[in-house]
Symmetry: none
Subunit: 251 residues, 2 copies
Amino acid sequence: MNDIAPLSRIRVVLAQPSHPGNIGAAARAMKTMGLDRLYLVRPLRFPDPQARAMSANALDVLERAVICATLDEALAGTAIQIAFSARTRELSHPALDARAAAAEAIDCAAAQEAALVFGSEDAGLANEEVLRCNRLAHIPADPSCSSLNLAAAVQVAAYEIRLAALARRAPGAHCAAVPELARHEDVENFYVHLEQSLIASGFLNPRYPRRLMERLRRLFSRTQLEKDEVSILRGMLSRWDSRRRPDGDNS
Amino acid sequence: MNDIAPLSRIRVVLAQPSHPGNIGAAARAMKTMGLDRLYLVRPLRFPDPQARAMSANALDVLERAVICATLDEALAGTAIQIAFSARTRELSHPALDARAAAAEAIDCAAAQEAALVFGSEDAGLANEEVLRCNRLAHIPADPSCSSLNLAAAVQVAAYEIRLAALARRAPGAHCAAVPELARHEDVENFYVHLEQSLIASGFLNPRYPRRLMERLRRLFSRTQLEKDEVSILRGMLSRWDSRRRPDGDNS
């Protein structure tokens, strides 16, 4: 189903979601990050056309969602259960941020099942629900407006899960086709050409160079010029140069 | 408004959003992360009751949204413009992931304005829109289902922005004297000047442009041009231009 094995051992649990649109949007958020195991504890309305509409291409995630009567049922078989909450808890687990929580979930999912647990839209997770989990996580948010939409919170958590999974993967993975970079000597020849053109045009007075070439080197150094780009730049210079000759060799 | 100063210099630009619910949800996503400057380029329906409903506590963000006729208008005054796209581009800027892009935006926002740019729900950003930005970012996603809901993408980007801002706030964070970056409109004017010079010189045939300007935009986008550098480049162009006139105003 997904492209990274441990992701198949991570489930997303929504406890008593009230808006079916959020269930669909959460399914879509999961699937974009390679998660596909959705558990719903006493959803108010499900199945529902609004859930289907919001799920976009993640209809399969919705259709295989597991409906549970209790949170315990949804958490059965998991080794780590991470409760996501915006509120700080008076008497609770020490809170991890979403990134640290994702790293723990992925470490666990190398061999065992893990659950990401989200409360209802209005009330979040009740204390007794949090206490049935063994981790508490929060998504860093502005204190004046700390309540994310349910599906948005699932999106952020799933995103961190995916990044953690990618980080755990064997090194030497990504090597996309990269354009050929210009060689040192080609870039140096470009600078020589550029300087000559600037002197010939009158923009650079060799007696008072005022660090102009240094500045231009600094500019182009930052780009990491590609081979083809040096050819284009030199072509441009040649064309400008040729316009300058009084006897006009504009071939 | 928000609790971390650089966040007030970051705007979120939605190019031609078609669903008002997404605009409201994006406003909420922004506000949870301390962002409050929303720009809308030709929204299909706005204002709209659905946008208000989905904005939850972020109604103020909606009400102060700036409606723009063009993307350039929305980007005016910004030094960094980050185009978010799920698609890879044949001929484009090298893509950053969302985390690296957020770090760049926050570095910029210490002193100047930055924009996070998102395309429409159906089509995303057009190539020509991406080319008006100087960064391209993607949110790592499952290749089989890589299209996040618009507001979900804004949520992830805003989340990374907030984390980057928090990381920079650490005591003694580096704040070396950074050169002033060129503003969007100054860079666009440079491209206009460059194109005119290339046409006048004969290097660029407007009937067969062969994507030359796209390639040059890509090259200079990578550099993050400074204000003084744009002045130098335009001075060089003016000098080359003046040499071309047959009646020779070579002052």
